[in-house]
């Protein structure tokens, strides 16, 4: 692909999805400044590899690259945050079991304070956090997330359920 064509493709495929890329990177790295570094790194990779984009969901394609860049960044700068990813079975014990006694009403959740919600998301184990963000912030479907994470759809569904379940309980505590 010629440089000019690659540049055009880059602008079409990448630039419209910068807000999504920054959102994902922000939730994975934990702050806006590091998110910019990660997204810039990802965009350099996206530009170099624009020839491998074979059509389809451009957002999912870019976010896959952003996720890789974020994990590389985490491994280098926050290696401790990555530890949990190795043994996901341990996480099952962390996941709260729904308990009718202390689950908040939906109406309370709807009015939840944005700050409290952000703190709760940030506190989620990475494996749950990324699925929640990819689904509700980036708006990807189960199948796209499964492809991106290279896991079965069932795994995506259960991680999403656990992530959301934890958020529900955390928000209920604050009420």
């Amino acid at each position: 692909m010629s440089g000019r064509l690659a540049g055009e493709r880059f602008r079409e495929v990448v630039l419209p999805h910068l807000p999504d890329a920054l959102s994902l990177a922000r939730w994975l790295t934990g702050n806006a400044h590091d998110a910019e570094d990660v997204v810039q790194e990802a965009c350099l990779k996206a530009h170099a590899g624009i020839g491998t984009y074979a059509g389809g969901n451009a957002r999912a394609w870019l976010l896959t690259i952003v996720r890789h860049a974020a994990y590389t960044w985490l491994a280098k700068n926050r290696p401790r945050n990555l530890v949990a990813v190795g043994g996901l079975s341990d996480l099952d014990e962390l996941a709260p079991q729904p308990d009718a006694a202390n689950t908040p009403e939906a109406a309370l959740l709807e009015k939840a304070d944005a700050n409290a919600l952000q703190v709760a998301i940030a506190a989620l184990p990475l494996a749950f956090r990324e699925v929640v963000v990819l689904r509700d912030v980036n708006g990807l479907g189960y199948r796209e997330i499964a492809q991106m994470l290279d896991v079965p759809i069932g795994t995506v569904m259960s991680r999403l359920a656990r992530g959301r379940g934890t958020l529900i309980l955390e928000l209920g505590k604050g009420q």
Binding site: E8, P19, V39, L44, I121, R135, S158
Partner: protein
């Protein structure tokens, strides 16, 4: 009591199904079954409402702003091959751009050498012999075409992105309407086989075509220093700044074009 549907019995399976309902991942048949169940099961309905509420709350969280500076930094990644770097983004793209600059420099050294040895000029022909003529031809074609512009808009915020999207480079589309020069649109001009952004302004009944060649591209390099250019009956004015080499062509009087050039320069210097 066992409901007569094919929904899973275990609570975990049901919860995943509720969630898939919230996420719009169920087919119509499954939606129908689970909605029927929801209608008769308040506890399940409350769980469904909770999942929907938390999903909605996450969805509504404020998104991080994409700052102009950051967007420009990223856009520069795609432009490094197709356009001269903007000064503001140079620090980001410098490693990729340096060989490019080097070639441009080598080219200009060569041009100087060629000019010095006048006899070999025609043999080498390294640059368009008369860029001003080519630009004037482009202007004439614009006048003859059904519309002098490909994108008709007096809004600079429309014209510039359009040019960016088409050829990946756009000059500052300054608005000089208050000074009598109304931006009416832009088009892509191909001069010496190089697609270049062109802005079109109207001054009374005259059209002014402003072709902008990125500095460092082959188009418009090695142009003569003389300021007074005219070609094919049109006035041509030429000037440069850090980013672009500009060629303004019009059938308007020469002093009008000079005035336009001065105002455009003043306006871009302010940006």
């Amino acid at each position: 009591m066992k409901p007569d549907d094919k929904l899973p019995e275990n609570p975990e399976g049901l919860r995943l199904l509720l969630q898939a309902l919230v996420d719009g991942e169920l087919d119509a048949a499954a939606v129908l079954e689970i909605e029927r169940r929801l209608a008769g099961d308040p506890a399940l309905a409350a769980e469904h409402a909770r999942i929907a509420a938390v999903s909605g709350a996450v969805r509504r969280l404020p998104r991080p702003e994409v700052s102009e500076a950051f967007r420009a930094r990223i856009a520069a990644i795609g432009e490094e091959v197709t356009a001269a770097p903007q000064p503001a983004t140079r620090h980001v793209t410098a490693p990729q751009v340096s060989p490019f600059d080097w070639r441009a420099m080598a080219a200009s050294i060569m041009i100087a050498a060629v000019l010095a040895s006048g006899g070999t000029w025609w043999a080498m022909r390294p640059v368009p012999t008369n860029f001003a003529d080519a630009v004037a031809d482009a202007h004439r074609r614009g006048l003859l075409a059904a519309s002098p512009v490909d994108v008709a808009s007096s809004d600079r915020h429309t014209v510039k992105p359009w040019l960016d999207g088409r050829i990946g480079v756009s000059p500052p589309a300054v608005d000089l309407a208050a000074e009598g020069f109304k931006l009416i649109g832009g088009r892509v001009e191909v001069v010496d086989d190089v697609p270049l952004p062109a802005l079109v302004y109207r001054y009374n009944e005259h059209l002014i075509t402003l072709v902008a060649a990125p500095r460092g591209s082959k188009a418009g390099t090695g142009t003569p220093a003389r300021a007074d250019l005219s070609a094919g009956g049109f006035s041509v004015v030429h000037w440069s700044d850090d980013a672009f080499s500009y060629w303004a062509v019009s059938d308007a009087e020469r002093h009008v074009l000079d005035d336009f050039g001065n105002r455009f320069r003043k306006a871009t210097a302010k940006e």
